[in-house]
Symmetry: C2
């Protein structure tokens, strides 16, 4: 039986882009089901009753939620380019950094944007990003994964692409190139990969979305 | 070369108990290094520079932080009783639930305790715990892992043991047996396992610690 792979997505979430990137790296063919998050489908609610969120990957009828859990599943099931290292210690190290980015860096950047650059939020986000900056400086490598992108790079897709667009929409400037030159260089290298470009929402579409949200907030 | 395994711990953290439980399940011999968290050792700061927290497992000189990352490492490296299922879908499912407990249930219960039973916090914690209650009711199994404890049970060690002690120390009652009968039954089964008993901090010691914190807060 051929694999049936469906991805429930929304066309603009960095969590969805993480999963798409893993699927494209593995060369997995999938059907994209775009959800209207203001009117979620019965399927989405059935497949992810706990969080009721995208992304959900449904593989031969079996649903999986949570982007990093889905990526580990994809890496387990489909051969080809490995997404996690094979060595147990390197694997643990990649999981540590993916979790650090997901649980600590991304929320710190969201908070800068949500608060329109609140001083304390900026201090905290700077501190977290400086840790990534130092990591890239010490390793001297092109990607967090070394010569090739791995779980950590995929986890960091938000940092590479979203902040600059959100900041343009909101008219703020937090994430500057001179503050984090190594992270900026990494983002350039990452966004230059064809597989990354294939899996990102179009810039104009994201910008229009965040501008609309910004305008709605200003009217409220 | 024999394995050198050191666990940096504090003698009372549920995150440490998770890791000890995984080590005991696998029969791994380790040296316990008890940290004074008000005066952290140079080793702890060197081994976990990002979070500066216990637990840290150091295996043949290589440090690993974050309890769930450490448990996956232990399961990868040492054979014997499996902690995660082998089947990729069951593995993803276990990771999903361990993450739900770690990221959603535990913080909801902490908030009830921190706020001394704030109404909104209680509502939210009830909602999260009801999801676990339903999961145990539907599965009809003894443990989240089935007949034996697995990653999900280990992730939930806090729920089995800590809340009742914290509530005794603070003189509040949130976590009642009649509200969550299946979760309570699971906790009894879990706490009856010898391997779990071996790895928990003594009740009297935890109670004294939380009473002291409660009294310090009341004086402040």
């Amino acid at each position: 039986m051929a694999d049936e792979v469906k991805l429930y997505e929304d066309g603009r979430s960095p969590y969805v882009s993480r999963v798409k990137l893993a699927l494209h790296l593995k060369g997995v063919k999938y059907e994209s089901v775009v959800e209207d998050l203001s009117n979620k489908s019965a399927d989405l609610l059935k497949y992810n009753p706990v969080y009721k969120k995208v992304p959900v990957l449904v593989h031969n009828g079996n649903p999986i939620s949570e982007s990093l859990v889905i990526i580990e599943y994809i890496d387990n099931v489909w051969k080809g380019v490995p997404i996690l290292p094979c060595d147990p210690y390197e694997k643990a190290d990649a999981r540590f950094w993916a979790k650090f980015i997901a649980d600590t860096c991304n929320p710190a950047i969201y908070e800068v944007h949500r608060s329109y650059g609140n001083e304390q939020a900026v201090l905290e986000a700077n501190e977290k990003l400086q840790i990534l900056e130092n990591k890239l400086r010490v390793s001297g490598q092109k990607f967090f994964g070394g010569d090739n992108i791995n779980l950590v790079d995929i986890a960091a897709v938000y940092i590479a692409y979203w902040p600059e667009i959100v900041e343009e929409a909101k008219g703020i400037k937090f994430f500057t190139r001179d503050k984090f030159p190594k992270v900026s260089e990494w983002a350039d290298n990452f966004l230059n990969c064809q597989v990354v470009q294939e899996t990102l929402p179009p810039r104009a579409q994201l910008l229009a979305y965040f501008k609309k949200r910004h305008e709605a907030r200003n009217k409220a």
